[in-house]
Amino acid sequence: MLDTSQRSAPKLSDKAGGLRSTRSLLTLAGVLLLAAVPLIAPSMQLLINLALAKGLAVLGVTILLRAGQVSFGHALFFGVSAYVGAFLMASMPQADLILVLIAGVAGAAISGLLVGLFVVRYRGIFFGMLNLAFSMIFWSILEKFYHITGGADGIRLARPTVLGMALERPEFEAVLFYLSLVLMVGLGWFTLRWFASPVGQIFQTIKTNETRLEYLGLSPKRVLLSGYLLSAALCGVGGSLMAMTQGVVTPEYVWWVRSAEMVFIAVLGGAGSVRGAFIGALIYEIVRVYASAFAGDIWQLLLGSFLLIIILFAPGGIMGIADSVMNRRSKSQPTNLGEDAQ
C-alpha cells in the first residue's frame, strides 16, 4: 500500500511538472513573440496593444468567473479609469503617464469599492444584473452631463509625458506597448499567485460552497469584495491603457456592449483561465479587425452565436480545447465553467 502510493507520487508530480514546464515554455514563447511584434510586424502594434489593454480588463472578469459570478457591467471600471485619466490630462496638461495610470486605477478601485460593497450581497442573477445597472447609470451620466463629459463625443486625452520626457507619437506608442506587455506579464503572474494564496483559494470556494465558508468563520462577502476590488482595478489598468492608446474617451467605453465583449472573451479564452484571457483577447481583436470589413453589421450576432456554441459544446473555451489536445486534462480542473453544477 505504502509502496505503491510512494511509487505513484513522484510519477504524478512528474507529469504535473512536465505540463507546467510545457505551459511556462509556451507562455514565454508567446510573450517573446509579442515583444517582437513592433520589430517584425509594426502594422500590428496598435492592434496588439489594444488587445493587451482589453486582455487586462478581461482578466478582471475572469477573476469573478472563478468565484462562479458573472458581471455584465465591468466596462464601468474600464470607463471610470479612462475618464479619470482624461480629466486629469485636461486639468494638468503636463501630467505623467505613470500618474495617469495610477490615478485611473485608483479611480477604478474606489468605484469598485463603492459598487462592490453593494453587489457582494448578491450572487448569480442579481450580481450580474446589478453590475449591468450600475454601468448603465454611469453611461447615462456621461451622456446627459455633456457640458462636463463631452456627451457622446467624449473627451480628447492629450499625450502625457513619460517620466518627465515629452515623447513623439512613435516613441510614445512603443513605450505604451511595452508597458502593456510588462503589465500583462506582471499582473497575470500576480493574479495566478493570488489564486494560489489563501484569500484566492477562499475566494474560489464561493463557487462551490459558500455556506461551508461561513462555518469556518469566514465572511464570504469580504472575500468576494477583495476579489471584486482586484477585478475592478484590473479593468482600470486596461481602461487607462486603452484611453492613452486611443487618445480619446467616449461613453462607448462603458456601454453594455463593451461589458458583453469582456464576458465573451473571458468565456472564449476559457472561463477562469489567466492565460486564456489574453489569448482570447488577442484572437478576438485580430479576428474583429479582419472580419469587420464584411461582418461589421452582424458582429454582435456572430458573437452571440459563438458564445452559445462555446457554452453548449466547449465550456472550457480555448484553454479547455488546448488542454484536451495536450491530452493531460484532469477532470477536476477548476477552469471548467460548465461541469460543476453542484
Binding site: 468567473l65 462562479g68 459570478q69 458573472v70 455584465f72 453593494f118 450581497r121 448578491y122 450572487r123 448569480g124 442573477i125 442579481f126 450580474g128 444584473m129 446589478l130 449591468l132 445597472a133 450600475f134 448603465m136 447609470i137 447615462s140 451620466i141 446627459k144 452631463f145 455556506t211 453594455w256 458583453a260 464576458v263 468565456v267 453589421d297 452582424i298 458582429w299 454582435q300 450576432l301 458573437l303 452571440g304 452565436s305 458564445l307 452559445l308 457554452i311 453548449l312 465550456p315 465553467l337 460548465g338 460543476d340 453544477a341
Partner: protein, 301 residues
C-alpha cells in the same frame, strides 16, 4: 410646482408605469416559474414594437381604418411569442435547466446579442414613428389637463386587466394550476403526470407575448429606435428586483413607484430622470436585499 404640472407628472407616471409593468410581468412570470432571468426579454419588447409599426404601416397604406392598429398590436405580440419565444425555449433553454445559474444567464445574454443585431438588420437604425392608434382614441381633459385617452385610460386598463387576468388564470384555471404545481416542485409535478416541458414552453411563450405586447403598446407613444431593448431589460429588471423576483402583484407596485418617481423627476430635475429608477432600486435593495415583497431564500447546506 403647480397643480397642472403635478397632474401632468402624475399622468405621465401612470401611463409609463403601465407599460413597464406589462413588460416586467412577463419577465417575472418566466423567472417565477422557470428560475431563469431572460435577458433577451428586452429584445422581444423592441421587436414587438417594430413589428407593430411595420404591420400598422402596411395595413394603413392599404386603406384600412386606424382602429385596426389595435388588433395588429395583439397579432404582433402573439407573433413575437410564437416565432421567437417558442424556439428560444425549445431549442436553447431546454438544454440548460440543470446548468449553473451563470451559464443560464450567459445563454439568454447571447440570445439578446443575436436579437439586437437581427433587429437592426431587419429594421435598420433610423427611428420609426407610428402614432395612429394614439390619435384614433383622441384626447380627454381632466382637471384642466388635456391628455391622450390611449395613455391615460387604455394603457392602465390593459395593465390592470393583465394583472387580474394572470392572477385568475394561475389560480382558477387548470393550466394555471399546472403551472403553479410545476413551479412548486417540478419532480413531484412530473411524477403525477404533468408534462413539465410543455408547461415551461407555454409559460415562456406567455412571457414573450407580454414582452411583445409591451413593445406593441409602447410603439405609438415613442419613437422606435435601436437600443430600446437594452434600456427596457435593465428598467424592467429594476422593477422586478425592487418588487422581489417572481412577485407578480409586487411588480405592479414597484412599476408605479418607479414610473411616478421618474416622471416627477422629469419635471423637477430632468438630467437625473433616467437615473431615478435605479436609485429607487438601489435604495430598496439596500434596506430589503430580497426586494419589497420577496421573502428571504432558505439556505441549502
Amino acid at each position: 410646482m403647480n397643480l397642472t404640472i403635478f397632474l401632468l407628472a402624475l399622468f405621465d407616471g401612470i401611463s409609463y408605469a403601465a407599460l413597464v409593468f406589462i413588460v416586467a410581468l412577463g419577465l417575472t412570470l418566466i423567472f417565477g416559474v422557470m428560475r431563469i432571468l431572460n435577458i433577451a426579454h428586452g429584445s422581444l419588447y423592441a421587436i414587438g414594437a417594430y413589428a407593430t409599426v411595420s404591420l400598422t404601416g402596411f395595413f394603413l397604406a392599404l386603406g384600412f381604418s386606424p382602429i385596426f392598429a389595435f388588433p395588429l398590436m395583439i397579432i404582433s405580440a402573439v407573433l413575437v411569442g410564437m416565432l421567437l419565444g417558442g424556439p428560444i425555449e425549445w431549442l436553447l433553454l431546454r438544454r440548460i435547466y440543470d446548468k449553473p445559474e451563470v451559464l443560464q444567464l450567459l445563454v439568454t445574454f447571447a440570445v439578446f446579442m443575436i436579437l439586437e443585431d437581427a433587429q437592426r438588420l431587419v429594421w435598420g437604425t433610423q427611428p420609426y414613428f407610428q402614432a395612429s392608434a394614439l390619435q384614433a382614441l383622441g384626447n380627454i381633459t381632466l382637471f384642466g389637463v388635456t391628455y391622450t385617452v390611449y395613455q391615460l385610460i387604455l394603457l392602465p386598463l390593459v395593465a390592470i386587466g393583465l394583472l387580474f387576468g394572470l392572477r385568475f388564470f394561475l389560480r382558477r384555471t387548470v393550466i394555471g394550476k399546472l403551472i403553479l404545481a410545476t413551479t412548486e416542485d417540478r419532480e413531484a409535478a412530473q411524477s403525477i403526470g404533468i408534462d413539465a416541458d410543455r408547461v415551461f414552453l407555454f409559460t415562456f411563450i406567455v412571457g414573450a407575448v407580454l414582452a411583445g405586447l409591451g413593445g406593441a403598446l409602447a410603439s405609438p407613444t415613442t419613437s422606435i429606435l435601436p437600443g430600446m431593448g437594452a434600456d427596457m431589460i435593465v428598467l424592467s429588471f429594476a422593477v422586478v428586483a425592487t418588487a422581489g423576483l417572481g412577485q407578480i402583484e409586487g411588480a405592479a407596485v414597484a412599476a408605479l413607484l418607479i414610473g411616478l418617481g421618474r416622471s416627477f423627476a422629469v419635471y423637477v430635475w430632468p438630467e437625473v430622470a433616467v437615473l431615478v429608477p435605479y436609485l429607487i432600486m438601489v435604495l430598496v435593495l439596500l434596506i430589503r436585499p430580497q426586494g419589497l415583497f420577496g421573502s428571504p431564500v432558505a439556505r441549502k447546506i
